[in-house]
Amino acid sequence: MSKFESIESCLKEIENRYTNTEKVRKKLANYDEAIQITFLDTNRSVLLLVDKDLGIEIKDNFGDENAPVKIEFLSEKVMLELFNKELGAVKAYSSGKIKVVEGKIRNLMKLKSLMF
């Protein structure tokens, strides 16, 4: 049985990783830009607001066109497969299942531990 069965559970996991993993917070200590995730199959958007190592806020069904980092998932299933370790991030990325539509690579590198 898959551990993550809904996008909500994945988002909860992102919050857990941030809250409970010191290394993740350390990586994001200088990061305070909004990240918008969009699922192209459902047109659902999620906004992650990281405030350095002080906290994270996750807004489901919420978008920000001005977010400096924008990541598109081909479908919600892709995120579930990633979180359930059924799909590798590099494979998802190179096969076009995840696409970074906006964002500096320096920032994206910092986000890896939060997302994948």
Partner: protein, 530 residues
């Protein structure tokens, strides 16, 4: 770190026997004097036997094993035992191909750049990572927190950090502390190979330049980077110029390979790309070398370190003293060519290379409005955040179509995509010099007569292609001849020993390609959004 005249120090370590041997080989029958050139490229371990006249006589090639360490596919390892076994097997096989006993006057090596090896204090490998290991994605933030992108680029000439040795070292310190504590030496892959052959720890500028720990201007390990991250300075081996004798082949290896002489000098070469450039004769300011391997880096030789103001195009050290390189990279050219052969042609023909030549001869520029977008393009690794989709654009069958593209057109479109990708980088790299440039190319795809013609016309220039296209072997052998004092400089060696075929641009076709390139580029701008 102590500054030493490292070349002199190492030469001082060479045994009395080696010095006598160097004198003896110079009076032996030249016809039997050979060099063993070892090249560990991105895909294979290749051993070449090269005569002292720089004729490549035998080649042995075996694929290398790369191990994925995680599901994500970021962390990769080389199977180092397998690699070493293949080096040994390859040497044995080429020696068996020789009908008579040969005098091996020296061994030299080059390897894929960026690949890194960490050793413990017993010299045992605790990590060997290929140029595709991007585990540094997890640790690069530490570099970003300490150095601005520009400051780091002006020290190292390379970006982004996730690719290089510096980020890998930090990754082990962060993620595998126990392993990090065991690290005694940090070597580039070629340094490791030299260590296995001689037992000596030594690096060279062409290898060290691809670590992101070398100060490119000072041509020494960066004390600023080492101090900032509190690395043990003893991690990093002494650096010599390529073409320096760095030791003798270990006695047990002399015995294993059943060499006729006891003393075999080992000469440092370094990065495979720099060796390829040397083997093309690309050593003077204004020379541009296009290495047509799995990927296609383009290098411009300059006489001082110049740094791209946008931190995109890399600055490296050449294997020639006092020369630097500006690098632009067209991406996976040879890989695309091989993929196309395997996927589209292997079922149609037993000799795809020959078929490709025929298809190119029988098709016309523009490939009947067939366009390929398979990766080769202007270098933009620094800002690359997405892997673009591969696309063919072509005229499909319709009710009104009288003619349709054929396999030859698709083949041509792939080769034109590769040529256009090279062209975009060629244009940019020329902007780093005021000199008039001379263009060279070598590598596997340079063996295609028809592709070289396309490339010359797309670039609208004359291209010099060395007689031996496997130029890395030749460059490595040239370093050997330099190290053994057969020649005092590379320039005279090139004049005496390298021969070229010239590929000329056809002005009419070149004009046609200017238009076709613009069509391709316009279409690409749309396709990149897919």
């Amino acid at each position: 770190m102590k500054k030493k005249n490292q070349g002199e120090k190492l030469l001082g370590n060479i045994s009395h026997h080696t010095k006598i041997y160097l004198k003896i080989v110079s009076i032996l029958d030249n016809n039997e004097n050979k060099i063993i050139s070892i090249d560990i490229s991105s895909n294979s371990v290749k051993i070449g036997l090269v005569s002292e006249q720089l004729k490549l006589e035998f080649v042995d090639s075996q694929n290398i094993n790369i191990i994925n360490e995680d599901l994500d596919g970021f962390a990769k390892r080389l199977d180092m035992d397998d690699l070493w076994n293949k080096v040994n097997d390859g040497i044995n096989r080429i020696l068996k191909k020789c009908k008579s006993i040969v005098n091996i006057i020296g061994i030299s090596t080059c390897t894929q750049r960026i690949a890194t090896v960490f050793l413990d204090n017993a010299g045992k490998v605790i990590y060997g990572g290929p140029n595709t290991d991007v585990r540094g994605i997890d640790s690069a933030y530490m570099i970003d927190d300490e150095f601005s992108e520009r400051d780091l680029f002006e020290i190292t000439g390379h970006s982004p950090p996730l690719l290089f040795c510096l980020a890998r070292l930090l990754w082990f310190r962060e993620e595998e502390e126990e392993t990090y504590e065991k690290i005694n030496k940090v070597l580039m892959l070629d340094d490791w190979l030299v260590y296995r052959l001689t037992g000596n720890y030594v690096s060279d500028l062409s290898s060290a330049a691809e670590s992101q720990i070398l100060d490119i201007k000072k041509r020494e390990w960066s004390s600023e980077i080492i101090q900032t991250f509190d690395f043990d300075p003893d991690f990093f081996p002494e650096i010599v110029e390529s073409g320096t004798i760095v030791g003798e082949l270990k006695p047990e290896l002399v015995k294993r390979f059943n060499f006729s002489q006891n003393i075999i000098p080992v000469i440092k070469s370094g990065g495979d790309t720099q060796a390829t450039l040397l083997g093309m004769g690309v050593i003077e300011d204004g020379d541009i070398g296009i290495s047509l391997g799995t990927t296609a880096p383009l290098h411009l030789v300059v006489n001082k370190p110049i740094f791209d103001p946008n931190n995109n195009f890399w600055t490296s050290c050449h294997s020639i003293k006092g020369k630097w390189l500006i690098e632009a990279h067209a991406g996976s050219t040879g890989a695309v060519y091989d993929w196309f052969k395997e996927c589209f042609l292997s079922g149609l023909t037993n000799n795809s290379d020959y078929s490709i030549e025929q298809y190119l001869k029988n098709s016309t520029p523009g490939a009947f409005s067939t366009f390929a977008f398979l990766g080769p393009e202007k270098m933009n690794i620094k800002n690359q955040t997405s892997i673009k989709r591969g696309v063919f654009v072509f005229q499909p069958p319709t009710m009104v179509s009288e003619e349709l593209p054929k396999i030859g057109d698709f083949t041509r479109s792939v080769l034109e995509n590769i040529a256009f990708g090279i062209f975009e980088n060629y244009q940019v790299i020329q902007m780093f010099t005021d000199l008039s440039t001379r263009t060279y190319c070598a590598g596997g795809m340079a063996k295609s007569e028809e592709f070289c013609k396309i490339l010359a016309s797309v670039l609208n220039t004359e291209i010099s292609v060395p007689y031996t296209k496997d130029s890395a072997f030749i460059g490595v052998a040239m370093n050997t001849l330099k190290g053994l004092n057969y020649y005092s400089d590379y320039k005279s060696m090139i004049k005496d020993l390298l021969t070229y075929e010239k590929k000329f641009s056809n002005p009419t076709i070149s004009d046609i390609y200017k238009t076709i390139y613009l069509e391709w580029k316009n279409m690409k701008n749309k396709i990149d959004d897919l």
